[in-house]
């Protein structure tokens, strides 16, 4: 890793992260800036599409059907495939470069640039293709796309994205390995390890993406017709991985930001953290079937097995969260000496917008986790699959947990890369909570609407469903408007920062982000009763709420 500056004047906890990131090679900083800029752009654009959609969904705006579904296609594509992946690549590169001893620069940087170019080309193509006629949602639904103008380009866009991701993943693996080869490090830090894990999974996922989208692009380019492969199954194998890549990188950001904002590292061994990060890849294969509960070609027995195995999906996130919470509490108690179950929490850096982001992300993840557990129960498939409950649930994760977490990290990365202090940190520290309100309103109303039968991907049904659905849709719309406004404020704040934030030198640029500086507790002196209680209460709630939901399943005709 690059020579670190004299940190004797850096008092705040984030000092070391700041010193390390700001001393990266100029070429690496340029690459990171490219990914960061496109990330912010795709986030802003995706949110603008979302704003139109929630206005339609809420009944506040009427759009012609094809136009509405074009925007739906653009929204999903832009945020899920482009915002989330441009920002994750930026995040993982930061971690590889900053947290790996002995790394001077990114290995095979030109390959990463090629990846950036391919991803950007894919993004541009996938912005145009829906307007040409490929109105097929971000899933790229086939055989629906058969004969649609622009469908071939749509899939080509995704192929370029897949190739781009393949190109960027390789340097992220090669760089830490080179550090070992050069004898600079014997055992990676847990953050480097997880970043390498993420990159390896991305490589594998890229192959799956190329398989499904490459085949479909060829099919579309050859004029369509009967498909000789099952697009939806091939898609879901890739899509399943695409869910867990962002979740893995999200908990990695929590792990890193907890340290950056409080000075606290895990009080457990690196090996423990590595094992739990590795769990994300371990639980992946057995669990992908929960996407297919409504598929009649899969037997009842396999659905039962799938539902059982899917329960394991929550383990890595819960365990990494526990490591962070226990470490924070134990260190807080040692450093601040407070008594009682919750008093130590007062000392957390709530005024730090990055910390506030990850704290709010955990609040959203709590709801997302409970809902995920409910939705993987096969008994609910006939009630909830293909309803609005699905997008209502996943926005807890995609927006409230994952996007919010990455935005939190950008509140450090952007100021450091550009040498400008974050714009209005007080406001930025409140925005995560405002976003959480919007996410909960959107999500809870949406779940209720879905429970009553409101279908997903149906923006303005022309028939009557349950009488309560229009009101619930209006609440969904209101929640969505709040989410969109807050996210646009985040984008504004980050753009203001990099364009006109107050210039500051190394050691000062993150000085306006309040931190605490706690000493890690010794492993033998860990006292974390709150974390222990929270763990048990959370697990009990997970099972109890799921069980309660079973009793809410009414009498369906089937």
């Amino acid at each position: 890793m690059a020579e670190q500056g004299d940190d004797s004047t850096i008092e705040h906890a984030s000092g070391r992260f700041e010193a390390s990131l700001s001393s990266l090679a100029e070429e690496d900083r340029r690459l990171l800036k490219a990914f960061v800029l496109v990330s912010i752009f795709t986030l802003g654009l995706g949110v603008l599409y979302a704003l139109l959609l929630v206005l339609v969904k809420g009944g506040f705006l009427s759009l012609e059907s094809t136009l509405a579904y074009t925007i739906l296609t653009l929204h999903g594509t832009t945020v899920f495939y482009y915002w989330l992946y441009f920002v994750q690549v930026a995040v993982v590169m930061v971690f590889v470069l900053v947290y790996t001893d002995g790394v001077d620069e990114l290995v095979w940087r030109n390959l990463a640039w090629a990846g950036f170019g391919l991803m950007s080309a894919g993004f541009l193509i996938d912005q145009i293709a829906p307007w040409m006629g490929a109105v097929i949602t971000y899933t790229g639904l086939a055989p629906l796309s058969d004969g649609m103008p622009g469908a071939d380009w749509f899939y080509v866009g995704y192929v370029l994205l897949g190739l781009g991701l393949l190109c960027v993943s390789i340097p992220c693996i090669a760089t830490p390995i080179k550090a070992k080869l050069d004898g600079k490090v014997e055992s990676w830090s847990s953050i480097t390890f997880a970043a390498t894990l993420w990159a390896a999974l991305l490589t594998v996922t890229s192959f799956a993406a190329l398989n499904v989208f490459g085949r479909t692009a060829l099919w579309a380019l050859e004029g369509g017709g009967p498909m000789d492969f099952d697009y939806m199954i091939a898609y879901h194998v890739m899509f399943h991985n695409m869910h867990y890549l962002p979740l893995l990188s999200t908990v990695l950001v929590w792990y890193a930001l907890a340290e950056v904002t409080t000075g606290v590292k895990s009080i457990f061994s690196d090996r423990l953290s590595k094992v739990f990060f590795a769990f994300y890849l371990v639980v992946l294969p057995p669990t992908f079937l929960y996407h297919m509960f409504l598929d009649p070609t899969i037997s009842a027995l396999m659905k039962t097995v799938a539902s059982t195995l899917a329960m394991f999906i929550s383990i890595p996130t819960i365990m990494v969260f526990v490591i962070i919470l226990v470490s924070l509490e134990a260190s807080a108690r040692v450093s601040e000496g407070r008594q009682g179950l919750f008093a130590w929490m007062r000392d957390l850096p709530w005024g730090n917008p990055a910390f506030s982001s990850i704290a709010a992300a955990c609040v959203c993840a709590a709801a997302g986790g409970v809902l995920a557990n409910i939705l993987i129960q096969v008994k609910f498939a006939a009630l909830l699959s293909d309803t609005f409950a699905i997008p209502a649930y996943f926005h807890f994760f995609t927006v409230g947990t994952i996007s919010l977490t990455f935005i939190g990290l950008l509140m450090y990365v952007i100021p450091i890369l550009y040498g400008r202090q974050l714009w209005n940190p007080k406001l930025m520290a409140q925005l995560p909570w405002a976003l959480t309100v919007g996410v909960y309103l959107f999500g809870v109303s949406g779940i209720a609407a879905g429970y009553l039968g409101s279908p997903r991907r149906t923006l303005a049904p022309e028939y009557d469903l349950h009488a309560s659905i229009p009101l619930l849709n209006a609440l969904v719309g209101l929640g969505g408007i709040i989410m969109a406004i807050v996210l646009l404020l985040f984008v504004y704040g980050l753009v203001r920062t990099l364009r006109s934030g107050e210039e500051a030198g190394v050691g000062e640029v993150t000085a306006n982000l309040p931190t605490v500086r706690w000493e890690p507790a010794e492993p033998g002196a860990v006292k974390a009763p709150t974390a222990t209680i929270v763990m048990f209460v959370a697990l009990a709630a997970l099972f109890a709420l799921t069980w309660l939901t079973f009793s809410m399943v009414g009498d369906l005709p089937g």
Partner: protein, 181 residues
Amino acid sequence: MSRSSEPLGAVLTSLSLLLLIIPWSLGGAYTAEEGAGDAHAGHGGPGEMSAGQFMAITILFEENNWDADAGIVVAPDPGWMVMGGERMSMNPVYLAAYQWGYSPAEIQLEAGVEYQFRMMTMDVYHGASVSTDSGSQMVRLIPGVVIEQRLTFDEPGEYTLYCSYYCGEQHNGMSGKIVVV
């Protein structure tokens, strides 16, 4: 616990979730139900018949069960029998879905009677979900697959049949009606 044994201890703790999952599964929480739109019970699967064949049967079903006075297709008595250890309806209700409607578009059933619906999409993925006051019975139709679903409507009334799987530009209006008397 020493640091070197932390991972093993933690993994074992996590896997102890298995202790909860087994009774959870045995308690029937998971069990997918027979007739819930799957192929396991031998009621349909890929390649059983083509879309054209299914449509022909559906048209015949509509013609044979058209009630001119009521102006609606009236589902016949299901005629449940046990054959080869399996309970089957000798007069299933046929329903075809296509861009962008259903055939028959409206169908009359009798309250309290269990019907065997046999459904198929003629083109792309569709939904054939039914709205009730207790939520909707969600059904997904997959190209090339005949889906069977047993439905019993206890209360008379009109139930909306609708497409819950995005299927193109007129997806918003794709609906039918089930009239229960």
